[in-house]
């Protein structure tokens, strides 16, 4: 099992622990990753909010490299994942979009490279049985609210590997790691995403709503699979409590960090020490 790996810009900086834990977990589970050589930014929301042609062309540069390498792509960041999938969709379904992307990048591309999110690869390609067989330290008694946010499941006709309104793949993965996923209502409600810098007051309101609901639903911690979800819920957690009322501090981990702990990997190899709200390793 081998993928061309697209880390994305956040994973070199604010989401470094997502990168560390993704690589560590894949190594442990026998998923070979070959980083896309000299990969470049997908453009994210600033590109699609500024120029339609740029928003398709920037991801295409990376998809062309994966096609040259003959590998399917695995992405960790939920935003990069959506942008790469959307570029594929546009190019393979609209000949004019394809011609424009080829003119702008100066290379051909048919939209045919498979793009999968790390969660999809773990649950649907590798499979839960293979993961269960490797779990050495089950996260027994840990109650996890799995938070999918926006772009892992939307828009559903383009990024779908799970149900758009009631996804369950992360819950299944948490259960395979020995944890107890809790039922809660805000699995796919947005955290404010890119408003993090521009409208941090809005993000504080949304983060407060999500974190207090997770707590009220009995969760000890949250699992996420997106760098912006992590910034908004972990780094900005104290701001949310200050603006909208205190709640019990709640660790927010990348799902790959939780899985890595269950696989028996050392916390320092998973970036557990880089959380704002610390996580003791078991039930807090």
């Amino acid at each position: 099992m081998k993928y061309a790996y697209f880390p994305g810009c956040s994973l070199e900086s604010t989401a470094r622990s997502f990168d560390l834990s993704t690589r560590a977990v894949c190594r442990e589970l026998g998923i070979a990753l070959e980083e896309i050589p000299e990969w470049t930014c997908c453009g994210s929301t600033p590109a699609h909010a500024s120029s339609d042609s740029l928003s398709v062309a920037l991801p295409t540069l990376n998809l062309q490299k994966a096609q040259a390498a003959g590998l399917p792509v695995m992405v960790a960041c939920a935003s990069c994942y959506a942008r790469l999938r959307i570029a594929n969709h546009r190019i393979s379904s609209d000949p004019e979009d394809r011609r424009r992307a080829e003119r702008i990048t100066g290379r051909t591309y048919d939209g045919g490279v498979e793009v999968r999110h790390v969660l999809d690869v773990l649950v649907n390609h590798l499979g839960l049985d293979a993961i269960r067989a490797k779990v050495r330290r089950p996260l027994a008694g840990l109650r996890v609210a799995c938070y999918y946010g926006c772009l892992l499941t939307r828009p559903p006709e383009i990024v779908a590997f799970d149900d758009a309104e009631h996804p369950s793949s992360m819950d299944a993965l948490a259960a395979a790691a020995g944890a107890e996923p809790v039922e809660w209502p805000f699995k796919t409600e947005c955290c404010g995403a890119g408003l993090s810098m521009t409208n941090s007051g809005v993000v504080a309101r949304l983060a407060h709503k999500l974190l207090s609901m997770a707590r009220a639903s009995g969760a000890d911690c949250l699992a996420v699979a997106c760098p912006l979800c992590h910034v908004n819920l972990d780094l900005r957690q104290a701001d949310a409590a200050k603006a909208h009322g205190a709640f019990q501090p709640t660790p927010v981990l990348y799902v790959t960090q939780l899985l890595g702990l269950a696989l028996g990997l050392p916390p320092e190899n998973l970036g557990i020490d880089a959380l704002t709200v610390g996580f003791a390793g078991g039930k807090p």
Binding site: C9, S10, E12, S13, T14, A15, R16, S17, P37, E38, W39, T40, C41, G43, S44, T45, P46, A47, H48, A49, S50, S51, D52, S53, L54, A57, L58, L61, R100, R103, I104, T105, G106, G149, C150, L151, T153, R154, P155, P156, A164, E165, T188, E189, C190, G192, A193, G194, L195, M197, T198, N199, S200, V202, R205, L206, L235, D273, A274, T276
Partner: protein, 183 residues
């Protein structure tokens, strides 16, 4: 919002339809988008009101709204619209039109953020978060927000001090240049 907004047949609906590639005219005001919008409470016009204002050709209200800059592109509206309108795509088209016509709100910090972000991509091929955030703060005079988080982020390795430039930054610059010609 005024009680009545006169219908202005100046082609706004056609332009939004063309730029967004979605049938915005199909909206029948069920308000499902507004009900599920996480930032609805912060908007001056709800997403369904924006759709109606587009129908009515109310260009100044739409392009000068706070709503188009508060949209977080979470796509809940697009996923749920019973008429399959890509409402988040309409918001993108409106932001681009607002910038083209130079009538975006000065307080719309999303505009400055997007500019700083894409400037960083053009310069390095990847976003250099530290540089991008500094540029954004200088541009918006918002110097103090989040500064308290920087020491922790640095000590935890969550903020890279130096850019990690892609070796293919030249390709990215070429893509920016050609995309500007196409737009």
């Amino acid at each position: 919002m005024n009680d009545t907004i006169p219908w202005n047949d100046d082609g706004l609906l056609d332009e939004v339809r063309r730029r967004s590639g979605t049938e915005v005219g199909a909206c029948f005001q069920c308000h499902k988008c507004s009900t599920g919008c996480p930032v609805g409470p912060d908007m001056d016009f709800l997403p369904s009101q924006i759709m109606r204002l587009v129908h009515l050709g109310a260009e100044d209200e739409v392009l000068g709204s706070r709503a188009i800059w508060l949209c977080a592109s979470c796509e809940a509206c697009t996923a749920r619209c019973p008429m399959a309108i890509d409402i988040a795509g309409v918001m993108d088209a409106l932001r681009i039109m607002a910038i083209d016509r130079r009538i975006a709100l000065p307080s719309a910090r999303g505009k400055q953020f997007n500019r700083c972000f894409l400037g960083s991509v053009r310069r390095h091929g990847r976003v250099y978060e530290m540089g991008m955030m500094t540029a954004y703060k200088l541009r918006t005079f918002d110097l103090l927000t989040d500064v308290d988080k920087v020491p922790q982020m640095l000590s935890q390795g969550r903020l890279a001090l130096l850019p990690n430039r892609s070796g293919d930054v030249g390709q990215v610059r070429e893509v920016f240049r050609r995309a500007e010609e196409e737009d």
